[in-house]
């Protein structure tokens, strides 16, 4: 009674299959949406893309949020959330400035490491409380959002980091391009590729999906849930830390409110990008495209005659739209699967 399992494995049909699922993927849909938005904006104002500044800003501005969205996606996939990333960014951005001012001649690479390390440490605090104390991530990160921001303001005082205090090479990182692509974007994309590769190809990455898909089953399988969740939060914090360093490079000016509200954009970008809020599915690629879509729409609004005051509302509509769409699709898929099974 041995039968071969379908489908056939010729390379041709596998390729077609691959193309087919690519076309249906959520990531493709929002990529398409992004392209459309850029197209429409460019039609109205060619400088949106076809000018030095335009193209650079198109790629540059979202890269900071993109980093945070990638980290957020890793956490959401495990069925958690990290609302403290905005505050983490603020702290590491200020740290970056302080290091350059207080330690003259400090190598840029050391500053990067310090920022990432601080972010990782802040993420570790979150992760430890959530993984060991088994308290919902929502509440813990709500608390650390407050606490970290408070520490930030306390530390900053009435101070402010100014661009003039930063070493020129560092600021240049924020605006220079290689082959028309901003360096910051390249950094962010490298991180994205590494994260995407890890989540897809390494056991630990796949286990994150399992944990989010069914935490009880994950325990039964004997997966090291506590460890993995802890690492997820450390990574999220580290990426927010990196984003903080890049923030300072990009804007030069840092006050105590740097990054306030960014957590919302990060979560929103992930959700729009197809990362299910209940965990277990979605990709960092989707989150990254989601970040770009979100911020590009915001930049395109003024060009389309919509005052940029409406940006927040657009974000809200996109988030709600994304989760309603996910739900409708899920219900339909479930119904189709049950019908097919009972036929």
């Amino acid at each position: 009674m041995t039968t071969t399992t379908q489908p056939s494995t010729t390379t041709g049909s596998r390729l077609l299959q691959g193309l087919g699922s690519f076309a249906r993927a959520r990531e493709t849909a929002i990529l398409l949406a992004l392209v459309i938005v850029i197209a429409i904006a460019t039609i109205k104002n060619p400088n949106f893309v076809f000018s030095n500044d335009g193209f650079r800003n198109l790629l540059l501005t979202p890269s900071i949020i993109m980093l945070m969205a990638v980290g957020q996606a890793v956490v959401i996939i495990t069925r958690n959330v990290d609302l403290s990333v905005g505050s983490t960014l603020g702290l590491t951005a200020y740290l970056t400035g302080r290091l350059f001012i207080d330690v003259p001649g400090i190598p840029i690479i050391v500053v990067f490491i310090a920022g990432i390390a601080l972010g990782a440490f802040l993420g570790l605090i979150n992760g430890a409380l959530i993984a060991f104390a088994k308290v919902p991530a929502l509440v813990i990160t709500l608390g650390t959002l407050y606490a970290y921001r408070g520490i930030n303001v306390l530390w900053t005082g009435s101070d402010r980091i100014n661009a003039s205090d930063m070493p020129k090479p560092f600021l240049a990182l924020g605006t220079q391009t290689i082959l028309y692509i901003p360096i910051l974007t390249i950094i962010a994309v490298i991180v994205l590729i590494v994260a995407g590769w890890y989540l897809r190809n390494i056991r630990g990455g796949r286990e994150l999906y399992a944990i989010g898909s069914d935490p009880a089953a994950a325990n039964l399988y004997g997966l090291k849930v506590t460890q993995r969740v802890l690492v997820a939060f450390v990574v999220c914090g580290a990426l927010a830390g990196l984003a903080g360093v890049l923030y300072t490079a990009r804007y030069g000016t840092v006050n105590s409110q740097a990054g306030a509200g960014y957590e919302l954009d990060a979560v929103g970008a992930a959700v729009i990008g197809g990362v299910a809020i209940f965990g277990g599915s979605g990709t960092v690629w989707g989150a990254a495209i989601g970040a770009y879509l979100l911020l590009t729409i915001n930049r395109a609004l003024p060009i389309l005659g919509v005052q940029d005051f409406w940006q927040r509302a657009v974000v809200g509509i996109l988030i709600i739209g994304a989760i309603v769409l996910d739900r409708v699709l899920a219900v339909r898929t479930a119904r189709k699967l049950v019908e097919a099974r009972d036929k």
């Binding site: 009674m1 041995t2 039968t3 071969t4 399992t5 379908q6 489908p7 190809n201 390494i202 056991r203 796949r206 286990e207 999906y209 399992a210 989010g212 898909s213 069914d214 009880a216 089953a217 994950a218 039964l220 399988y221 004997g222 997966l223 299910a276 277990g280 599915s281 898929t333 479930a334 699967l337 049950v338 099974r341 009972d342």
Partner: protein
């Protein structure tokens, strides 16, 4: 009492001796014993509450035994987690498989131990071909790349079995695996089980279905009330002997069913249909009658009950109570018309475990306890005291958390909740599941008394002795359809089991 095995003389792969396990005051096992041999499929049978699932959980490492010996291949083992038992070569297939719905079949099988190549990268091609090979070995068709969400229980079980084989399990435990399977799927599962047996594994098969036990298994152990009773070769025994050992007493004198005056139709169900769940269900229950809905687990009886009560929807048909047609999917309307449902899952559906006995027992009558729209504890406590007294609920205080009571007392609280409404129809789903013997008798007496006072009782039960002892009429359900309506005089274990396993036409023949 030690085992007198009539099994093959070779050393058992897995052995349990005189295992005891208690949860607080509740003794789940007082003498659990079992021997599993390689190349053999062993059945474990017993009524609900006999201790079968406790044994499974101890084997799986979910529970730790209080006392007794547990050896695997001659060595004593003490599993502190399911991961440990898995690592030792024990695989358990539960009634409800726990897979990762968002992930593919392949990933589910290999999660945590995917084959890797350089740089620790998961070798997808190798993983997939291994999965394909596993399913070929099982002789089943399965799309390895498909998401497991939406797969039938039968397919999910096969994935669990594939997992077990890939872990090279020496012992495979199947806990009521056929409950949700169709005939064809059962055949497929049995073929797989036989081939696994022939490979040298030891298989434990737990089931209520005697025809399957006799079809598939080589040996059978009977348990009753947490104790080992006997083991025999399948070839040397028959259903009657096994049932007798399971029940331990003469069936007819077990339950004190009173004679009751049977009145008019109270509950009338016509043409009730919900695609894929139940089809064209028609029956009536008269006042004073106890009607049993019998059948195999998974036949759809609880679903029918839930649809009648209004928790689940139905696509066509009607439910009439005391002459009034009930609206669909509206438990409040059903309750107000005089319907009550004691659900199947006492802990998840019948009670709010974390709240008090008082709150639980008054949950269905909150509105009637109000004065000027306000509800005060003294009123709740008074009502709760009265009903707890009447049902002889054993609890220290009324504000004790319901979750700390024994199964029997929990069931009494659920009953108190519904009886406080003075319903005209009581639907009770598995009235004595997981309850100690003493309370079982009390519940049966209670149901009998209620019928005697004119209540119409619809009782869903998977325990044949209970059905045969209590019911005035037995309606048998198979795969969502009623296949027989048997009067008390004609109801026997055989006639009910026949109807439970065959279609209506076949029964008539």
């Amino acid at each position: 009492m030690s085992i007198t095995p009539t099994a093959p003389a070779s050393a058992p792969t897995l052995e349990l001796r005189e295992i005891a396990k208690a949860f607080g005051a509740v003794i789940a096992l007082s003498n659990g014993s079992l021997q599993l041999h390689a190349n053999s499929i062993h059945a474990l049978v017993g009524e609900n509450g006999a201790g079968k699932s406790t044994i499974v959980k101890i084997i799986a490492g979910l529970y730790q035994r209080d006392s007794g010996d547990f050896t695997l291949e001659g060595e004593t083992v003490n599993f502190m987690s399911t991961a440990e038992s898995k690592a030792a070569g024990i695989a358990v297939i539960y009634q409800e498989p726990t897979l990762f719905p968002d992930l593919s079949v392949v990933e589910n099988i290999f999660m945590g131990r995917q084959p890797t190549k350089s740089l620790g990268r998961i070798d997808r091609k190798l993983m997939r071909s291994e999965a394909v090979a596993l399913f070929d070995r099982l002789g089943v068709k399965m799309d390895p790349d498909r998401q497991t969400l939406g797969l039938s229980i039968a397919d999910q079980q096969l994935i669990e079995i594939a997992k077990a084989i890939s872990l090279d399990a020496k012992v495979l435990v199947m806990d009521e695996p056929t409950a949700a399977l169709s005939g064809v799927e059962v055949e497929r599962l049995f073929a797989v089980a036989r081939s696994l047996r022939d490979e040298g594994r030891a298989i434990l098969f737990i089931s209520h279905r005697f025809d399957e036990v006799f079809d598939l298994c080589d040996t059978v152990t009977v348990m009753r009330d947490g104790e080992y009773i006997a083991t025999s070769q399948i070839a040397d025994t028959n259903v009657d002997e096994i049932v007798r050992r399971m029940v331990g007493r003469d069936v007819t004198t077990l339950f004190p069913k009173e004679e009751a005056e049977i009145g008019d139709d109270v509950l009338v169900v016509e043409g009730l249909t919900e695609a894929g769940v139940f089809h064209d269900v028609n029956f009536t229950v008269k006042s004073g009658e106890i009607v049993a809905l019998a059948g195999l687990v998974g036949a759809g009886r609880s679903e029918i009950a839930r649809a009648i009560f209004g928790v689940d929807p139905y696509s066509s048909g009607s439910v009439t109570l005391n002459g009034k047609k009930l609206p669909k999917k509206n438990p409040t309307a059903a309750m107000n018309s005089g319907l009550a449902l004691v659900p199947e899952d006492r802990r998840k559906q019948g009670l709010v475990l974390e709240t008090s006995v008082a709150r639980n027992s008054t949950m269905a009558i909150r509105k009637s306890l109000t004065r000027f729209g306000l509800l005060f504890s003294p009123a709740e406590n008074a009502s709760s005291r009265e009903w707890s007294s009447r049902l002889e609920v054993k609890t220290a205080a009324l504000d004790t958390e319901a979750g700390t009571l024994s199964g029997g007392n929990q069931q009494k609280v659920v009953l108190a909740k519904w009886l406080a409404r003075n319903p005209s129809v009581l639907i009770i789903d598995e009235p004595t599941r997981g309850i100690d013997v003493g309370t079982k008798a009390e519940v049966h007496r209670l149901l009998s008394q209620l019928a005697g006072k004119g209540m119409a009782v619809l009782m869903i039960s998977s325990e044949l002795p209970e059905v045969l002892g209590m019911a005035d009429r037995v309606l048998v359900v198979r795969e969502g359809r009623i296949t027989a309506d048997i009067a008390r005089a004609d109801a026997t274990a055989e006639s009910v089991m026949l109807a439970a396993t065959h279609t209506a036409q076949e029964v008539v023949r």
